[in-house]
């Protein structure tokens, strides 16, 4: 099989079209199930009571805010080095979802901080670097939108995405490198310091978010391909 075959928009477009429904349905199921376990089945926490349940949204959102940025940067690198249009389109389509998750992580964090820490917001390293991540996403999207010529907008914003990737390890390790008000990691290579049900619900939610991202991003890529190839003939074969 020729893997590169899927790197061409012509092949990718129908493939993505077939995959999207599965991702979308899966996302719905996992998120509902995760919320069910998280909100109703999982026990209250010994210190935080029920306030901790924000964890089921906050942590997966925070994970995906960082993860999607890295994926976006990888696509940017691929795009620049292989001159692959589809990579640029992927990167462009990831950004809004990544920004959305960043925003969700920030907001849920703030709503969580109020009852637990006693403050909506503090300027510790974790919170600040996550805020910078939001700004980077916004910068990326603004640059994309600000350049009319797609070839240039793709490349220019790819450069920005790559420059900004340095922020991700800073977010991740901030709780280790500096002492922050934000807690350290509950899950790491040596295991987890969470009760099993809680962890389970959180992972299910993360899976749901993953499927959601896939569905939304692929939809966006398809629209992007349509926009860019409105004139090209092959597209008509797949639309009635």
């Amino acid at each position: 099989m020729n893997l590169f075959k899927y790197a061409s928009p012509q092949t990718f477009y129908p493939l993505a079209g077939r995959l999207i429904p599965f991702f979308a349905i899966g996302a719905g199921l996992f998120i509902i199930y995760g919320l069910y376990i998280g909100m109703l089945v999982a026990p209250t926490d010994f210190q935080q009571g029920d306030a901790y349940r924000i964890i089921y949204v906050h942590v997966p959102a925070a994970w995906f805010s960082m993860f999607l940025y890295v994926v976006m940067a990888v696509y940017a690198i691929l795009g620049l080095s292989l001159n692959a249009k589809l990579s640029f389109m992927m990167a462009k389509s990831i950004a809004p979802t990544g920004a959305m998750f960043t925003f969700v992580a920030l907001i849920t964090g703030a709503f969580w901080g109020r009852p637990t820490w006693g403050a909506w917001w503090v300027w510790d390293a974790r919170l600040t670097s996550e805020l910078i991540l939001l700004f980077l996403y916004i910068g990326y999207m603004s640059l994309q939108a600000g350049i009319d010529d797609t070839r240039r907008s793709d490349r220019a914003s790819a450069i920005l995405a790559i420059v900004g990737v340095i922020n991700v390890p800073i977010i991740y390790f901030s709780v280790k490198w500096w002492n922050t008000l934000h807690q350290g990691s509950s899950i790491n290579t040596s295991g987890s310091s969470m009760a099993a049900v809680m962890l389970q619900a959180m992972l299910i939610m993360a899976l749901g978010f993953w499927l959601y991202s896939a569905a939304v991003i692929l939809t966006r890529v398809r629209r992007e391909i349509e926009d860019r190839a409105r004139a090209t003939a092959w597209l008509n074969e797949f639309k009635d």
């Binding site: 026990p43 209250t44 926490d45 010994f46 210190q47 935080q48 009571g49 901790y52 964890i55 009852p115 637990t116 820490w117 006693g118 403050a119 503090v122 510790d124 390293a125 490198w177 500096w178 002492n179 922050t180 008000l181 807690q183 350290g184 990691s185 509950s186 310091s193 969470m194 009760a195 809680m198």
Partner: protein, 150 residues
């Protein structure tokens, strides 16, 4: 110079700069860019000697004394501890034995006058029963260890 040679020279310069950056970074990690200081650091004089700063640590068991909205307690990092007083509403998670970060100024008498107290909880999440069980187990282990020591 051929362009290839120039490129090599540039790369060498880049590597040298990287090395400088790395040493500077390592050096900076030994100094104090922190959200809060521990009581030990305060006692060693690593904290600011004027103005506002933050102290973080665990609330010493049995040290909390309330008087209306006024609270006095001790913060410890297990090695050293210091006295804190605060007037106002404490966060719900403020508990003896749990993490806390207080912001304020240190008076001449060494007492830290806080104007804000934030709760810093740890990374453990479990149901209350499990926490109880765990505590009992630890107690048991501790007793056992103490017993064995004898």
């Amino acid at each position: 110079m051929k362009s290839r040679h120039k490129r090599i020279a540039i790369i060498v310069a880049g590597i040298a700069l990287l090395a400088i950056a790395a040493t500077l970074l390592l050096q900076s990690f030994q100094s104090n860019l922190v959200f809060f200081f521990s009581p030990t650091e305060v006692i060693q004089g690593k904290s600011p000697n004027q103005g506002n700063f933050r102290v973080g640590g665990l609330v010493v068991e049995g040290s909390v004394k309330r008087d209306g909205t006024k609270v006095a307690f001790q913060i410890t990092d297990t090695a050293n501890s210091m006295n804190v007083i605060f007037t106002g509403i404490l966060p719900d998670l403020f508990k003896e034995g749990k993490g806390v970060v207080a912001q304020g100024t240190q008076g001449a008498d060494g007492v830290f006058v806080a104007d804000q107290v934030l709760a810093k909880h740890d990374e453990n999440y479990m149901p209350p029963e499990a926490a109880d069980a765990l505590e009992k187990a630890q107690q048991y282990n501790a007793n056992k260890a103490a017993g064995e020591d004898k």
